[in-house]
Symmetry: C2
Subunit: 133 residues, 2 copies
Amino acid sequence: MVASVAVARALDRDLQRQAGLTLAEHHLLAIVNEADPQGIRPTDLALASTLTKSGLTRAVDRLEALGYIGSRVCPSDGRGQLLVLTPKGRQKLRRSAPDFFRSVARHFADYLTDRETETLATAFGRIAAADRA
Amino acid sequence: MVASVAVARALDRDLQRQAGLTLAEHHLLAIVNEADPQGIRPTDLALASTLTKSGLTRAVDRLEALGYIGSRVCPSDGRGQLLVLTPKGRQKLRRSAPDFFRSVARHFADYLTDRETETLATAFGRIAAADRA
DNA sequence: CGGAATAACTTGCGTAGGCAACTAGTTGAT
DNA sequence: ATCAACTAGTTGCCTACGCAAGTTATTCCG
């Protein structure tokens, strides 16, 4: 826990300095970017992220206010929405990517051997998957 | 990050339900418990925990108010303190340990093979150590 | 087709905790 | 001995976010 919190904090600080986004916000943009181009439902986004639904509502509000995310009512369910990246959001993500990857390397990846990275990905993937079961 | 946040949240919830402590607070008690019996300096405790100095000040205030931690002025440095567990704090820790270990097993350790656990401990230990350099 | 039970968000409220500025004690240089 | 530079801890301010209680839309059952 000490290590993972330290890494998260380091990434967060770098991101805020370099892109004006928190780690959580940047992560949301990244998830939306890789999701179905039709858009992603908030509940799914919350599940794929580190936030609860309430945290997500507010984070999405912020990202919408910044113009990085757009939303429209879900055609198949009037209660829900579909969230997509705006062009501005896509651009933001593209532009902040290099710095972000460097940051991940410096604070995390560079400390691991390839074997460790692989083991870690498997193990943590398993845990993340189990958690949603 | 998704996995580690999920695990932390699960442990936190269990601890709050079972012991009325947050994960961070419980962790502080555990660190103090294993430190020099003369006491530990707040700055060292912050470094060994997931908190910054300011977060630590407040967490320690809470734990003192609950009677789990005691403090006295550091004899060798009038600015600082030495923090120790009270008997009540030691008891609290002993009593919450079994539930806590079960919680760690259920949400985390049970998902890992012995090999993975070892790799993980090595790798994360390295990262945590590097971060303080 | 009406009405309970459920699901998708949202919001009110409360709290932990970071940052940066502050206070007070210590050390070191002249 | 004095004064500057540093360090330990604290505090004011602010924000993110979790929980639980709403709201609105949907579904399913009679």
